[in-house]
């Protein structure tokens, strides 16, 4: 049962679908997931994300999930565009599917570029995405930094649906450090709390990545408990305001993910000593500038008026 690792598709290669006859031109490799590779492709001047699977069953499972999501979440844009096979240069058939291309950067790149002030909002968007999935009867499963893209104004997107599992079944795919079972904090059954747990770890990974890696290296399995994650949260100024929320996520005591998202948002809006709201220098300068201008124009008015 060897899993075929097909050769990488070179930029410029044209792929023709066997069933639907669509033609795609490979632009570049976007990423490599657990179940295959994702390329940026072009068809009739529109860019798409194109996923080639190593295994027909795994890929088809993902397609099934995406289709069922599209049916249940009619509000969302249909992101599954095409499902087909192509014949590779190795003479074998490779299954692929095509999705809407989501432009965005990784969460850490985004916060580095735009500032950590965006974190609460991005988090809220992400929680809403998860709540949407949960509402349709699914759990994302493999939530981790690599599977989140952030677009303009902190709009977070989930990518790679390989781990998406029906509520009540087992989580299909997960990553150890984000896994509730790994931290002795519960089962690997798909429930909304599973995603919220991973979300809490994702927050820790974002701000305390080094310490988290250190923990996973040094802790004995029996000592891998959420309390260790809480220590990192308490010690980080960006996470501390959310400590209560994160604790509930790690304990699985958020009963409803919509409510959890709303609670997160309330924390994000909470005014107070958390932020020393210093007026940015450019704003102070602008204010000074306009005051001077005002004074000058008043003087001018008074003089000419007289």
């Amino acid at each position: 049962m060897a899993t075929s690792v097909e050769p990488r598709l070179a930029p410029g290669t044209v792929i023709a679908g066997k069933w639907n006859q669509n033609r795609y031109r490979i632009e570049r490799l976007l990423g490599e997931g657990a179940n295959g590779r994702v390329y940026l492709v072009e068809r009739e001047r529109v860019l798409y994300a194109f996923k080639v699977g190593a295994d027909a069953v795994d890929l088809q499972s993902e397609v099934n999930v995406l289709k069922s999501l599209a049916q249940r979440q009619r509000g969302e844009e249909a992101f599954l565009v095409d499902v087909d096979d192509y014949k590779g240069t190795d003479g074998r058939e490779h299954p692929f599917y095509v999705m809407r291309y989501v432009r965005g950067s990784s969460l850490s790149d985004y916060l580095n570029r735009e500032g950590a002030d965006w974190f609460p909002l991005v988090g809220f968007h992400l929680l809403n995405k998860l709540a949407g999935l949960h509402g349709s009867g699914w759990v994302f499963g493999d939530l981790k930094l690599e599977n989140v893209l952030v677009g303009d104004y902190g709009r977070a997107q989930l990518v790679d649906y390989g781990g998406v599992s029906e509520i009540g079944k087992s989580v299909r795919q997960f990553t150890e450090i984000y896994d509730r079972g790994y931290w002795s904090a519960g089962s690997r059954s798909a429930d909304p709390q599973y995603d919220l747990f991973s979300y809490a770890v994702l927050c820790v990974q974002l701000f305390e990545g080094k310490r988290l890696a250190e923990l996973t290296r040094t802790l004995l399995p029996q000592n891998r408990v959420p309390e260790e994650l809480m220590k990192l949260i308490q010690g980080n100024p960006a996470l501390k305001p959310f400590a209560g929320w994160l604790r509930k996520a790690l304990q699985g005591s958020h009963t409803d993910s919509r409510e959890a998202a709303a609670a997160w948002q309330r924390l994000a809006h909470r005014p107070g000593k958390r932020r020393r709201t210093r007026t940015p220098r450019w704003m102070r300068r602008l204010l000074l500038g306009s005051a001077l201008l005002f004074a000058a124009s008043m003087i001018w008015l008074i003089r000419t008026g007289l």
Partner: protein
């Protein structure tokens, strides 16, 4: 669905060839997966050819991994094997129903239907995994990682909707020259998995083949017992030693 998962770090050196034993297992519908645990930082995998051969004969997968990869590998292999077992069964049906020899011959729509069935069966079919652990002397520093992997596997199996259980065997069995001994009876719960290998004296020989035969025999008798008594928990204590 029945699997044997062999965790070892070297070459067998006593008794019947483990490749022959694995082929026996395969013929009885038991899939044999093999994980070779590498020494820390050391990439000498002199056992690798045999490990791959055993898995090939047993219709399963084989991997050489470092200790910290062990839990993840065991979990992933078990899952893959479940899916593969179901796929092979479904492929036979495919031929009869659609006249197709592979999934790729079906149109994407039909394929979607078939995979839905595969996924459903993968989640709900009963599963038994007998873990066969090499406890020869060189495995000693790796036993913590093995215990963790067993615990982790149980955690994943518990989340399945289908009935899943594991049993653990070690080889060699004891000082008295037994090839194999059961250290954990069939269980479906990770809660309180005992520290399996704490009291065990680790020693020399590696009778991989005879140990495999022993586990196949255990499966066979287990099945026989259940067929006769029609009990759901047709297990036997299986203490050999």
């Amino acid at each position: 669905m029945r699997q044997i998962l062999l965790i070892t770090d070297g070459c067998s050196n006593v008794g019947v060839s483990p490749v022959v034993a694995a082929a026996h297992a395969q013929s009885e519908g038991i899939t044999v997966n093999v994980v070779g645990v590498l020494d820390q930082e050391e990439a000498v995998d002199y056992g690798a050819p045999e490990i791959h051969e055993i898995a090939r004969a047993g219709g399963g997968l084989s991997r050489m991994v470092a200790m910290r990869e062990l839990a993840r590998t065991v979990q992933m292999m078990t899952r893959k094997t479940v899916m593969h077992t179901i796929q092979s069964a479904v492929h036979k049906e495919l031929q009869q129903v659609f006249g197709a020899t592979s999934l790729e011959e079906l149109s994407p729509d039909k394929r979607g239907e078939v995979v839905r069935v595969i996924d459903e069966l993968g989640e709900t079919s009963p599963l038994e995994v007998a873990l066969l652990i090499d406890t020869s002397a060189s495995m000693k520093p790796k036993m913590k990682a093995v215990e963790e992997a067993i615990h982790d596997l149980m955690l994943s199996l518990q989340a399945r909707q289908g009935k899943s259980r594991i049993s653990v065997f070690r080889f060699p069995g004891s000082r008295h020259g037994a090839e194999c001994a059961q250290v954990l009876e069939w269980t479906d719960s990770a809660a309180g998995l005992p520290s399996l290998f704490a009291k065990i004296t680790m020693q020399g020989t590696t009778p991989t083949g005879p140990a495999l035969m022993h586990v196949i025999d255990f499966y066979r008798q287990d099945k026989y017992g259940r067929d006769n008594r029609e009990e759901t928990d047709g297990m036997r204590s299986g203490n050999v030693g």
